[in-house]
Amino acid sequence: MSKNEKEEFGAGLDVGTMNFVAARRNNGKNVKTVRLRNAFLDLPPEQKRMLKLSKTSYIEYDGRLLVMGDEAISTANLFNKEARRPMSSGIISAGEIDAQGVMAVIVKHLLGEPRHTNEQCCFSVPASAVDMPDSDTTYHKAVLSKILTELGYSPNPVNEALAVVYSECMSENFSGLALSYGSGMTNVCLAYNAMSALEFSIARGGDWVDKGAARATGTTSAKICMIKEGGVNLSAPKNREEEAVTLYVQSLIDYSIDSIIAHFAKVRREILIPKPIPIVVSGGTSLAEGFVEKFKERFELFRGKFPIDVSEVRPAKDPMTSVASGLLLYAQMED
């Protein structure tokens, strides 16, 4: 097998509460990522013609018609309903009875056929949440492993924040503290020389910001989410809703830094980082304009108590695809 052929193998799959992102090599030269919103809405089968005419994303099986992705949310708004989400707080939603089937179809569509038998596919998993006592990812990992095995891949779960270290910290020999601010939760990983030293998550993310800001301003989470994704500037909020979003984002950042300090204190005797390392901020929630600046501003208030020497705080090159790229890197190494 030639080197060029081998460069094609391996896949990375970021399984997020808000988005699925798959990463693969394309013709050995480029890295291609594909993204789909992790939401769906079921409609009567007779609406299929309308969906085809309007070129709306859908899947059909077992006589059921499901609108997928961003269009699920806009279609749900039309009917004044909520789009359904297969995942909640970073793992498969226990209350969503169609979660497994829908996720299986999404994964199959994003990854396609394996390029060889048992092609390595690294998929993201969250660490257990330190602020949710019953947090357990065993079932979530098992379901995703089974889906990937059925599709002909060899599944390999990798911590979400560790994948960010792989994709963003090459110049520090894969040493860094990565925070992945997702929709359902925030994952944290401290790695040194590509080895994970500390992993945990907190059960707060973009959804927590949306709900809190919605409660504070008397509006809906969906509207706050639209405001956030529409381009709020956290350094210069323009109205009451944007101010609420800014305050809740600040609270999320403070909580995450505080959690690192508290959690590290429990394991400090076992971990020794000999030199300063960077903090990398990633995840869809960090896409808001001014997020990293806000993080830097809040971090300075905690720097004196922070257990690790930090060389710099920087954003991921592409917060939406950073996890998937890191997973692809690891998959190519393992394949």
Binding site: N26, K29, S57, Y61, V143
Partner: protein, 199 residues
């Protein structure tokens, strides 16, 4: 036993998650479901969807229930008529919390519901027989060993998942957001990661 019939009145599928039921659009075969009335009253999701469904409550009486005995007229002397000077005060009703009012279905609907209920009981008996057989022989199901990775909170318990998860014969028409970028830096990172891992 008090039962509840929940009927979808919209042209969309409705899921009542905490009762575990899916209602097909109005007019369809699966557009209604039967549940116990006490469960329906406790359901939060049903409360959120009341504007989309019709709820009817009725009582199912078992045909084998003992019938009430015929009242036997007591032999008592007739009371002399009481002077109606003061009208008797009406009894003070105890404070009873108002229960939600559901309309009573017609007799033909009741027959239909009884047939559905008999069908459900027959299916449950069938399932029970299958379970008994399953207990007597080893269960054949998909066994998925959970993959291990470097670090993190990870339980080594194995999870047995029945059946196939990836649906077959799926028609897919899904638009995804694609992005492509050069892999130059990627190849350097891959070489560096291999070197770091091999140390």
């Amino acid at each position: 036993m008090m039962m509840c019939r929940i009927s979808n009145i919209t042209p969309m599928n409705i899921v009542i998650e905490d009762l575990g039921i899916r209602l097909q659009p109005v007019g369809g075969k699966g557009s209604h479901a039967l549940v116990r009335a006490d469960m329906a009253r406790r359901s939060i999701d049903l409360g959120r969807n009341t504007q989309w469904v019709k709820i009817e409550e009725f009582e199912i009486v078992s045909p084998n229930a003992p019938k009430a005995p015929h009242p036997v007229a007591a032999v008592v002397p007739a009371k002399p008529p009481v002077a109606a000077d003061v009208p008797a005060k009406p009894p003070v009703a105890a404070e009873v919390p108002q229960l939600p009012q559901f309309s009573q279905p017609q007799s033909s609907e009741l027959e239909e519901l009884k047939k559905s209920l008999d069908g459900m009981v027959a299916r449950q008996e069938e399932l029970f027989k299958l379970l008994q057989l399953a207990v007597q022989r080893p269960m054949v199901s998909a066994h998925v060993p959970v993959a291990h990775f470097d670090a993190g909170n990870f339980s080594s318990d194995e999870v047995i998942l029945p059946g196939k998860l990836v649906p077959e014969s799926v028609e897919v028409s899904v638009k995804v957001r694609e992005d492509e970028h050069s892999a130059d830096g990627f190849d350097d990172a891959l070489a560096a990661l291999k070197k770091a891992k091999n140390r």
